[in-house]
């Protein structure tokens, strides 16, 4: 079946602009996660959604970052007023349930470059 998809695959933006990154999880997966992969910090957790429950935003680095998940499926990560330190690969993952034993399946990522 189809895996996790993300769009765009690459995004170049100017400092100060807003960007939206999209994630389509695997059909039937109720849990959705966003991570960030950057050279200096490695892989960092950003935000977690479980079904229609309130998300865990504890990993978001600043209030310029926000995310939503519509209808318990597609998710959008928005970064406002982008800064150069936001340059990274943003990875989305989904799992069948939030039970920790369930595997997280990762998408190919969106490479964000802020110039």
């Amino acid at each position: 079946g189809a895996g996790v998809s993300q769009s765009p695959s690459n995004k170049v933006t100017e400092k100060g602009k807003d960007v939206e990154l999209r994630c389509d999880p695997i059909s039937g997966h109720t849990a959705l996660y966003w991570y960030r992969q950057s050279l200096g910090q490695g892989l960092e957790f950003l935000i977690y959604f479980q079904g229609n429950s309130a998300p865990d935003k504890s990993g978001l680095p600043s209030d310029r970052f926000s995310a939503e998940r519509t209808g318990g499926s597609v998710s959008t990560l928005t970064i406002q007023r982008t800064q150069q330190e936001d340059s990274a690969v943003y990875l989305c993952a989904s799992s069948f349930r939030q039970d920790p034993a369930y595997e997280q399946y990762f998408g190919p990522g969106t490479r964000l470059t802020v110039t």
Binding site: V4, A31, Y33, Y35, G42, L43, E44, F45, Y48, Q50, D56, G59, L91, A93, S95, Q98, P100, A101, E103, Q104, Y105, F106, G107, P108, G109
Partner: protein
């Protein structure tokens, strides 16, 4: 809270030689342990995982990892590497209790297989 340390950022090894990629973790609770692999320009793929039971887990492509609770380690090994194993490998940990869903990753080890 958990943390993961991958002691080697880069490991060069000749083709058909054995390799060990080291991973140590710290956690105040019981954990599940994972190894993910990231091939060049691709997303993260689960290589193997330890949830419970036998402390030695194997992947379909010849890798194995052993959970050592006393040493808080989950080292990844392969007796004979191939060129196609060239990739970055990430060790990750997740709490096994209810409400645990966030993966905490090590900073990765780049395995380069030399012909």
């Amino acid at each position: 809270a958990q943390s993961v340390t991958q002691l080697d950022s880069q490991v060069p090894v000749f083709e058909e030689a054995p390799v060990e990629l080291r991973c140590n973790y710290s956690s105040s609770v019981s954990v599940y342990l994972f190894w993910y692999v990231q091939y060049p320009n691709q997303g993260l793929q689960l290589l193997l995982k330890y949830l419970s039971g036998s402390t030695l887990v194997e992947s379909i492509n010849g890798f194995e990892a052993e959970f050592n609770k006393s040493q808080t380690s989950f080292h990844l090994r392969k007796p004979s590497v191939h060129i196609s194993d060239t990739a970055e490998y990430f060790c990750a940990v997740k709490g096994s209790g209810a409400g645990s869903y966030q993966l905490t990753f090590g900073k990765g080890t780049k395995l380069s297989v030399i012909p």
